[in-house]
């Protein structure tokens, strides 16, 4: 990929990242952190790619370890975030005042 394309993607993603969370109440800090944490579990994709082209046992062993860790991060992260947010399900009259 063209370096300029990569830099553009990076810079734009930084601004989107700043923008989407700029006004969040402290009530949601923990679930938001946990959700973001689950999203970086997508490194699983990278771990699968390197496992695919591993040519030695050392590479494959490390790649398999990476897949296990990344899966724990991603799957566990989304499940625990969902459990936290279950508590916020709207009651009779809904909303946080």
């Amino acid at each position: 990929m063209e370096p300029i394309a990569i830099i553009s993607i990076f810079v734009l993603a930084v601004f989107v990242g700043f923008e989407v969370v700029s006004k969040v109440s402290s009530t949601l800090h923990t679930p938001l952190m946990s959700g973001a944490n689950a999203i970086h579990g997508v490194i699983l994709v990278g771990a699968i790619i390197v496992a695919d082209h591993s040519s030695t046992n050392l590479e494959l062993g490390l790649a398999v370890a990476a897949i296990i860790l990344a899966t724990i991060n991603m799957v566990g992260g989304f499940v625990v975030t969902d459990r936290m947010l279950e508590m916020f399900k709207p009651k009779k009259d809904g909303e946080n005042k």
Partner: protein
């Protein structure tokens, strides 16, 4: 599958992640946001299996190993996330973040071994960055886990010359990074990883227990950036987008959290080195305190017009959320005005207490945030502090140099009466003596929060 289609689907997953973060920042849409994120991650994972990287053929090589490893990850991750007690959830998040950082570092190492001499300088630099930051995130998160789980001391760990050791380790890490970039080879990279792991440990050790959530959030942002750097090495737009999003939003979130706790990020990370020695801690211990019986507490409550309940982590540990709601309902039925004063960092993380009380079906409209409730303490007859300490400790306003100085607190000292439900005179998580316990208008009720509350409830019923 063509490269175009593969990239397009990757982009769709990236959009899912943006929508997920957006949704997670509002209570109404938070749960849906998380589910959208999970869908994005699933799409991203499935599509890797359908696209042949670098012109190789499908199915992927080592497919059995890959699927087996994913299965193991699911078998470990899902039950851990399902079964964890809500009170222990912060350390689980720390652990998940740590393994993510570790995974990113491993991916970078494997790719480095694979590319060998074919790697260009930019790729090597990205690899070095991922290995350093991923390892710091991994070992740092393990330390935060140990602190939160109270498997090690929650106080800042400082040793003579500590700052020089840390600075030395950092310098050695950066030196090793230059070595890897210039010399290439496997050994320099492994030495670099070891140094970065050591630096991660040293970097988190001096952080005090109450500040740990800020560090978790910072390490979370770090892990995001490593994922973005791996995306560059692996030529994956999706990883660049996802990693950068987490890195950027995590940085903002870290700042917001630090603000909510009245801490500067710098103070959090390096406070232990600059803090003045603590005021005589032991001197206070022999002073008299006023302790009361559950009946005394019930009488005080019965004649109050307005009561504010200040819940802390001790309430959650004792699993007393339901009993406290029972007490609140009883008081409401007697025409007493009841509110819960929630400190932004009550519990172990910002928002943790809201989650715990929501679990006990406490209605939202009784939960008051700190800014709302502070001006009302002057009209409050009784403030009941249940298993909280640091969040009401006036030392945060009066004692410059103490670890929580500058943290906004719930000003319960303005209430006419204060009741502390505590297990013992032991200081809170931050390890600081609380002057309020010796205040003449304070009454202490010792014991397990749940047992004490149950007694208060039955005493109040009989009045």
């Amino acid at each position: 599958m063509s490269h175009f289609l593969y990239s397009l689907i990757g982009l769709a997953a990236g959009v899912c992640f943006i929508l997920a973060l957006k949704g997670l920042s509002k209570p109404k849409t938070a749960r849906r946001g998380n589910i959208i994120g999970a869908i994005g991650a699933t799409i991203a994972t499935v599509v890797v299996f359908l696209y042949a990287q670098d012109g190789e053929s499908l199915p992927l090589n080592n497919l059995g190993w890959i699927l087996g490893a994913i299965a193991i990850g699911v078998v470990i991750g899902v039950p851990a996330a399902r079964k964890v007690q809500m009170t222990q959830m912060p350390q689980l998040v720390a652990l998940f973040n740590g393994v993510g950082g570790g995974a990113a570092a491993l991916v970078a190492i494997v790719e480095y071994l694979h590319l060998g001499a074919k790697a260009n300088t930019a790729e090597v630099i990205a690899t070095v960055f991922t290995v350093i930051v991923g390892c710091v995130s991994f070992s740092g998160s393990i330390i935060t886990f140990l602190k939160l789980q109270e498997l090690m001391t929650t106080r800042p760990v400082v040793f003579p010359g500590g700052r020089f050791v840390i600075a030395g380790t950092l310098a050695a890490t950066l030196g090793a990074a230059v070595w890897v970039v210039s010399a290439l080879g496997t050994n320099p990279l492994l030495i670099l990883a070891a140094l970065a792991l050591a630096f991660g440990i040293l970097f988190v050790l001096p952080v005090g227990g109450a500040d740990v959530p800020i560090v978790i959030s910072l390490l979370n942002a770090f892990t995001g950036l490593t994922v973005a750097a791996s995306g560059y090495v692996l030529d994956s737009t999706l990883l660049i987008i996802a990693g950068t999003l987490v890195g950027a939003s995590g940085t903002i979130l870290t700042r917001l959290m630090a603000e909510a706790m009245g801490r500067s990020l710098f103070g959090t990370l390096f406070g232990a080195f600059t803090a003045k020695p603590q005021e005589a801690n032991g001197a206070a211990e022999d002073r008299p305190v006023r302790s009361g019986s559950p009946d005394d507490v019930a009488i005080l409550l019965n004649y109050a017009r307005r009561v504010v309940i200040v819940p802390g982590f001790g309430l959650a540990v004792a699993q007393a959320q339901h009993t406290v709601r029972e007490l609140a309902d009883l008081m409401l039925s007697k025409g007493i005005d009841v509110a819960y004063g929630i400190h932004p960092v009550a519990g172990r993380m910002p928002g943790h207490m809201n989650v715990l009380l929501a679990e006990a079906n406490v209605p939202y409209d009784q939960l008051a945030e700190m800014e709302e409730v502070n001006p009302t303490f002057a009209q409050t007859d009784v403030a009941i502090v249940i298993g909280a300490n640091d969040v009401v400790n006036p030392a945060a306003q009066t004692t410059p140099g103490c670890p929580i100085y500058g943290m906004p607190i719930l000003e319960v000292s303005n209430a006419a009466n204060i009741i502390f439900l505590k297990r013992s005179m032991r200081p809170g998580f931050a390890g600081i003596e609380n002057e309020l316990l010796y205040d003449p208008k304070t009454m202490l009720l010792f014991g397990d929060a749940k047992a004490s509350l149950t007694k208060v409830v039955s005493a109040l019923k009989n009045l």
